[in-house]
Symmetry: C2
Subunit: 404 residues, 2 copies
Amino acid sequence: MALIVQKFGGTSVGNPERIKNVAGTVIKEKLAGNQVVVVVSAMSGQTDQLIGLCRQISDNPSKREMDMMVSTGEQVTIALLAMALIDQGHDAISYNGWQVGIRTTAEYSKAKILDIDTKLMRESLAAGKIIVVAGFQGIDMKNNITTLGRGGSDTTAVAVAAALKADRCDIYTDVDGVYTADPRIVPDARRLDRISHDEMLELASMGSKVLHDRSVIFAMKYNVPLRVVSSFAEGPGTLIVKESADMEDVLISGIAKKDNEVRVNIAGIPDKPGVASTIFKQLADANINVNMIVQSVGKEGHSQISFTVINTDLDEAKKVMAKLQTELGAESVTYDADIAIVSVVGVGMKVYAGIAAAVFDELAKNSINLEMISTSEIKISVVIRKADAEKTVQALHKRFFLQA
Amino acid sequence: MALIVQKFGGTSVGNPERIKNVAGTVIKEKLAGNQVVVVVSAMSGQTDQLIGLCRQISDNPSKREMDMMVSTGEQVTIALLAMALIDQGHDAISYNGWQVGIRTTAEYSKAKILDIDTKLMRESLAAGKIIVVAGFQGIDMKNNITTLGRGGSDTTAVAVAAALKADRCDIYTDVDGVYTADPRIVPDARRLDRISHDEMLELASMGSKVLHDRSVIFAMKYNVPLRVVSSFAEGPGTLIVKESADMEDVLISGIAKKDNEVRVNIAGIPDKPGVASTIFKQLADANINVNMIVQSVGKEGHSQISFTVINTDLDEAKKVMAKLQTELGAESVTYDADIAIVSVVGVGMKVYAGIAAAVFDELAKNSINLEMISTSEIKISVVIRKADAEKTVQALHKRFFLQA
């Protein structure tokens, strides 16, 4: 008997009819002889509706109270799914994050999971019950309700799978797997049968919306076998696994685009040790995630630093940067929201050379201007104008996938 | 510095604008130098909307999951009210039932409060915070979310006031006090400045919708001074207090009508000891509240028993009665939903005689047929046809209030 964790996103549980369908999928796994824990998001649209209500009360609502509010979305879904399962003759029980001891950091709206107490879930599984757990939410050490931020239900699912040492964590979504590029942009993009955690992580953090990047980190850290499958169609999906020998011949696994980042440029800062550390420490203290960073030396011993932040963190980042500008005596701080980041990801880059050169060559051929470049062992990211983003993804996909 | 508990019902917090108004009322009490704990219901319509969603999933939804579901209504309101208070510059914090240890019995949808842990609330009050507590909900000993049933937020407010030994519990509602009869039926009904717990209890349990009867029992048991005031208009409201000497001259305090009860009649049962006890024990075991009970002896040593139950308990009651009919060998069990109960309530009945006679006389004059009669020390209730209910209330109000 295997223990399977299944996660269904907001679209999959978007209305009562779909919730009944999800119940069918869950029951199929249960009838196959497995123990099943289901993690669900809020019904699609629900969280935005709740946030809308908050905005009618306050322009700058208390973050603690926002989390108190939006966590009700998942509570509604778990109750409805458990009802549907019970209605179809199966023993099921729903739990909020606090009821199964999902302890998080005390960072409202972007809490991180610290620990999960599996005692109650193990008892319920032993009693033959299907467990339905609320994604996205937990409690801090003082029993305040916290949320994990957008996409956090994936993280809940993987964390629950890790804590219960589940045999597999299936992420049900509205696509049938991980593709070499977004099929809406590249119609001949191919579904991957398997991909390594590393590559999936780069794809996720670089804009592939199939999985939340934190969930992939969790899966990698605790070696949880992940599978991305469709809620709406049968199919094998994509397995996300540890890197294995037979994957060595894969060159590029995917091309991702991210267009919700803003480039921040701070210029005319003294070119001396500790400056970068000051900037990024203060941003980290304000809980702002920085993505790409590029530093260059300008005239007369002054340098400039460019980096990107997600647009929802921009207001917060502007406050930090205004303070830093005074502190460091910087000449200027500018913001550019009109950018996109396109990334080529593949574990093969470790062994094959020349990928970066091929990327730059392809962009040059298409007259696309490169504004920032950042590379890792398995990824090359470029910042370009937002208007060029789709063209860039299409060109790179053609270059790396259709030549084969 | 006094400690005041304020309770706002669903209409008072029906939309963001009204929630801001409630915040204003709360802040006024705080600025008067008092510590304030606020208990709120779900926004009006919200609970019905959530129940509607459940019905789309199952015709007979799991009661545990229903409570999980509907308790989100209050969680939304506490967050919004706390946000509004914070937005207006006051330190406020919201708590769900489980967060302030509102422990209840394990009876889903009609749980009873067993205990409230006041430690966290006392700490928050000592820190100068306004506390916003979710009405209607609690947790059982196994941490399952429970609800107290319709009107349960009143009970939460009084229980919180009792646990914190509050100086007063103000129930804000859409009427400006307790009236001698429903002003929609009797236009010249009068607002009472004060009424005893006993009388309020009889009025509440007999259909006056101003206060939930369980909240009055709590207030009486723990001697919490209650006040009913309007959310929408200034005014002294009605104080609900222990009976005091100067109230002796009050004769009748109010006339109430209840039209959501169904009369159950079981006929042809053996007229021997223990039969009534069997019937009402089984009903109590099924958690069905029985209101009026009348027993009469029929032909040949057989008797019949009539009683009323609230219509929401009817399905459950029918199951119990079908079993009892076989067990007791009863001739028939019949149901009549077309009834109303009209009650005359007044502490003065203890000392003045002739009230019952006056009630019966008034009904006879108006050709209203009496179908059941039940009396207590401070109340006379009659069962009549539902169609006669308003006329009965009007006639009795005229008889007892306009002669003075």
